[in-house]
Subunit: 204 residues, 2 copies
């Protein structure tokens, strides 16, 4: 069973490096050779573990990207607290991480989605599914927030969710080459004022 460990270790190394390079340079602009050179591995090793470049990328989505989205955007909003506060906080945290990342190139899912949208149905489906999971979680949270008396009932949870996701994807792109500190501060201030429009004020 030691062999299996080595297999997993090598595949994981490849995925991590592949993810880095794809994220930095884009999928089409990164060759398999680029990744292999950076890993000091050979073509043989690559095609022993993966069927194709596309297959390799899909494994990266499933193993690394899904996990990242879960840990930064989904898990932080689980629970029974005030949805509006929790959402704002999770997004602020995600933006802070980006801000502190010297090599930030934007929201991973979004960048790849842009690159594959309408060009590779298989891959873009995987990516859209990830966004969908995030979306569903926000919607569920908001619905629960209504019954718990945090959120006013007449807003459309679906509409709010996709508005939040949209604005997040956009600000992440702007932050790449702009002043991330100011952009984040401004963004959060506006997000807050937007979220405030749907706060349920308790009856006095």
């Amino acid at each position: 069973m030691d062999k299996n460990l080595k297999r997993m270790a090598t595949m994981h190394r490849m995925q991590v490096t592949g993810m880095e390079l794809f994220y930095e340079q884009g999928y089409y602009n990164t060759s398999v050779d680029d990744i292999l050179k950076s890993l000091e591995l050979s073509k043989g090793a690559f095609y022993y573990h993966f069927q194709s470049k596309e297959d390799f990328f899909i494994s990266i989505i499933q193993n690394l990207i899904v996990q990242k989205v879960y840990s930064t955007l989904i898990e932080p909003i689980e629970g029974n607290k005030n949805p509006l506060t929790v959402i704002e906080k999770s997004i602020d945290n995600a933006l802070q991480t980006a801000e502190n990342n010297e090599m930030d190139y934007g929201f991973v899912v979004h960048n790849f989605l842009t690159e594959f949208n309408g060009r590779n149905e298989t891959i873009s489906r995987y990516l859209r599914d990830i966004l969908k999971i995030w979306e569903v979680n926000i919607i569920t949270l908001l619905q629960k927030g209504k019954t718990d008396g945090y959120v006013i009932r007449h807003v459309s949870s679906e509409a709010v969710a996709s508005f939040i996701i949209s604005s997040y994807m956009g600000i992440r792109t702007l932050m790449v080459e702009g002043n991330p500190r100011i952009l984040r501060y401004n963004y959060i201030s506006q997000l807050r004022s937007y979220l405030n429009t749907m706060v349920e004020r308790e009856l006095a």
Copy 2:
């Protein structure tokens, strides 16, 4: 001077086709040969008119993309009317155009910005400049809206502008593979309620 006309015509044909293919498939995923094949022109023709693929793309930005942004997003908000109404309307129109476009791949500027961000400083600067122009126009409009009594004074025009731009960029990406009709409707409803937070109510 007839020659100059032909020159311009050919260059323009190339730019239009190049724009189409780059937009549909991405810059790195579209070869010069692809464009030439679609135009039934030769390598010689291409490199007679343009120095390089990059030079060609820059000419597309300057001739086609800038113009498109101006006509759809900037000119519609010029004037002395209520900024909040005007902005909402211009964005709704832009989204409607996208919705009716069978071959929509998202917001042109944003897609290319994502592809070049951190990878080609020259090109991403051009693209960021376009966004900057849009941003400045929104900011100016909002400031004027304050003095004209449409917009409450204590909001940050900069923050509002980048929030609007962010959300627009994001929703355009979501619309590519989602249900554009519903997404647009929902988005506009949320944008409206966001913009409503900064309406100056006239003193009774």
